[in-house]
């Protein structure tokens, strides 16, 4: 007869996206980003302790951090695991672009977003804190949705619409269009159907 020791403990769902501060980043800002991933993408988000500033990804000639190098580090994990969203305070660039608000591997494991350009209004004056946090939420949602396989959307009100500047970003609402929402639903189902992708956290052991 089976004893309670033979029955595996109940499994609670583990994190589906890890939110990782890279260097000095406001804890409130990180928490806001994680909460929006939870609420609007329906992903279990876990905020990890900050990692050291990725100074080796800094480009002296550009005076910015290379988003591509940061993504390579974030996605370097031995086993399939949760998605990873890095949040950094420095300005980000790609070799061919003057700057990016964030960058992600389409259908991949890692994304990174920057707070650097979100602090200011178009005229250069400081933006209200609430607006900064909302901008961070939008960029975090956009880049994480790229990880779920969504490409840019041409719908004017959709979070997947490309934002070339702060004015574009501020015009976006905190929602996805119906077509992108459908894709997100399917992507979440695929994510949860693949046990390798989402490692389960063990429940409490036998008493």
């Amino acid at each position: 007869m089976a004893s309670s020791r033979d029955i595996p403990p109940p499994v609670r769902p583990g994190p589906e996206v890890e939110v990782i501060p890279l260097g000095r980043v406001s804890a409130t800002a990180v928490a806001v980003a994680a909460a929006h991933l939870q609420a609007l993408l329906g992903l279990n988000a876990l905020v990890l302790p900050p990692r050291p500033d990725p100074a080796h990804c800094h480009s002296p000639t550009r005076g910015q951090y290379d988003a591509g190098l940061i993504l390579r580090e974030l996605s370097d994990q031995p086993n399939p695991g949760p998605l990873r969203l890095g949040i950094i305070g420095h300005d980000l660039c790609l070799s061919f672009l003057t700057f990016v608000f964030g960058e992600a591997q389409l259908g991949g494991r890692a994304a990174v977003v920057s707070l650097h350009r979100l602090w200011k209004l178009e005229d250069g004056s400081p933006a209200p804190r609430a607006q900064v946090l909302e901008r961070l939420a939008k960029v975090s949602l956009h880049e994480t949705a790229h990880l779920l396989g969504l490409a840019h959307c041409r719908d004017g009100g959709c979070l997947m619409r490309f934002s070339g500047g702060l004015a574009d970003l501020d015009r976006l609402g905190l929602q996805f269009c119906p077509a992108c929402q459908r894709q997100l639903t399917l992507a979440r189902q695929r994510l949860r159907a693949d046990p390798d992708r989402v490692p389960a956290a063990p429940g409490p052991g036998p008493a």
């Binding site: 790609l94 061919f96 672009l97 003057t98 990016v100 389409l106 490409a151 490309f162 070339g164």
Partner: protein
């Protein structure tokens, strides 16, 4: 406007190629990478590209040389030169050689986005021009070419075409052979928002299943014996436009499953390929078969039928809309007279009566052939009855001096023609039993067709 582009990215620097390709894919474009000019030209042998992004400084063939080669061999492919070493001279040289734009790295993300949108608009304009040139060379109006009709039945079809053109749902067109199903499909395409995008057609009954698969999905190099290079399929070619599946009732069950998957998932692979491709096409299908009967017989899948049959247009046979016969005949007389360089002839009264009395088993296609032949052989300004060659004689072809037996025989011939030579069906139409009809046929020496 379909803003997705097929992009060829040419840069000798791996990191640059990978990161820019990733960024373009995020924006929904289909990207092929090449590390140099020769590799780029090799890729262009296998597929068409809307846009080539070319780094100017590359070992071997540099960007300007590649630009010239692309403009020679694929003039419709837009080229944007990218460089980190800007100079007025090189930019002027690039534009003179046919570049659409010239970008200096690093560029502003909004600038890049606007450039891609501009390239998509230029691509669409090139397609429109190409479609217009083709239509001019065909010499026919795009929207209702050949769809002449003043009968209530055809007026209803025209209304349905307008409704279908405005919608994007799949359309199934049914009707006997020769009723103009492809013309209706082209009219739907020509009146819709994709009028200047490709109209890609394939006759599913004209090819084997294996060939149909390759024609539709395309294939990669080496996918099968004889596949010496990769080839785009009709699904890819129809991207942004319309795919017309003619004789869809002839498709095997296996192909129906494959197509159903494409229609549901919006993606597919080439034969022998492992990369998923997408194509945004509007589907129009046509058949002369009764698909509900084929479903009942287990030869056509119900789920596939429901997927292709959101809108239905039934084209009535010509014999059921007699008021369209003479207008169609006049239309074809004008068309073929122009083609042959003759003045447009008229129809004498006996010819008109014969056209009206004939049952037209081959429908509009047969009428077109009859008129074409008549225009070619006619010398004067009028087409007489003697210049009309039908599949079976009409009552107007027989003078009033015929005996009853001769009239009966002519009628038997006509009915047999309309029933495809079936004695059983002809007997039903004539209201006599089969054995009686067989005896009359044998006595008259008529050969059963």
């Amino acid at each position: 406007m379909n803003s997705r582009l097929r992009v060829l990215l040419v840069d000798d620097e791996l990191a640059m190629r990978e990161s820019l390709a990733a960024w373009l894919r995020q924006d929904g474009h289909q990207v092929t990478k090449a590390p140099g000019g020769l590799e780029a030209l090799a890729e262009m042998e296998h597929q068409e590209f809307d846009l080539a992004l070319v780094d100017i400084k590359m070992p071997g063939m540099d960007g300007l040389e590649l630009l010239r080669r692309i403009k020679d061999e694929r003039p419709d492919t837009l080229v944007v030169i990218i460089t980190a070493y800007g100079s007025i001279e090189s930019s002027v040289e690039a534009m003179k050689a046919g570049a659409s734009d010239y970008l200096l790295k690093p560029f502003d993300p909004e600038h890049l986005m606007l450039l891609l949108e501009k390239m998509a608009r230029q691509r669409d304009m090139l397609r429109e021009n190409s479609a217009l040139r083709q239509r001019l060379s065909e010499g026919e109006c795009a929207s209702y070419a050949g769809l002449v009709g003043q009968s209530p039945a055809m007026q209803a079809v025209f209304d349905q075409i307008e409704d279908a053109a405005a919608a994007m749902a799949p359309v199934l067109i049914t009707g006997e052979t020769g009723t103009g199903k492809e013309m209706v499909a082209r009219a739907i395409h020509g009146q819709g928002p994709r009028a200047f995008a490709p109209f890609v057609t394939i006759n599913c009954g004209a090819v084997t299943e294996t060939l149909l698969e390759s024609e539709l999905f395309g294939h990669e190099r080496g996918a099968f014996t004889g596949a010496v290079k990769a080839r785009r399929g009709r699904l890819e070619m129809a991207d942004g436009g319309t795919l017309f599946l003619d004789e869809v009732g002839e498709i095997s069950q296996k192909m129906q499953v494959a197509l159903l998957r494409v229609l549901e998932e919006k993606r597919f692979q080439r034969v022998g390929g492992n990369q998923y491709l997408t194509s945004d096409f509007r589907l129009i299908s046509a058949t002369h078969r009764d698909l509900t009967e084929l479903i009942r017989q287990g030869r056509f899948r119900q789920d596939f039928f429901y997927r292709i049959n959101v809108l239905t247009i039934v084209i009535p046979p010509l014999r059921e809309r007699g008021e369209d016969i003479l207008p169609l005949a006049e239309h074809f007389l004008a068309y073929f007279a122009a083609q042959t360089g003759k003045p447009k002839p008229g129809l004498d009264p006996r010819a008109q009566r014969a056209l009206l009395a004939y049952p037209w088993p081959g429908n509009v296609r047969e009428l077109r052939n009859v008129i074409e032949r008549a225009v070619i052989v006619s010398q004067g300004s009028t087409v007489g009855l003697d210049k009309l060659t039908f599949l079976a004689p009409t009552p107007e072809a027989e003078p009033a001096s015929l005996t009853l037996a001769e009239v009966e025989l002519a009628h038997i011939r006509r009915v047999l023609a309309t029933q495809g030579g079936s004695v059983g069906l002809a007997a039903e139409v004539l209201g006599i039993d089969r054995s009686t009809l067989s005896r009359k046929i044998k006595k008259a020496g008529l050969r059963k067709t």
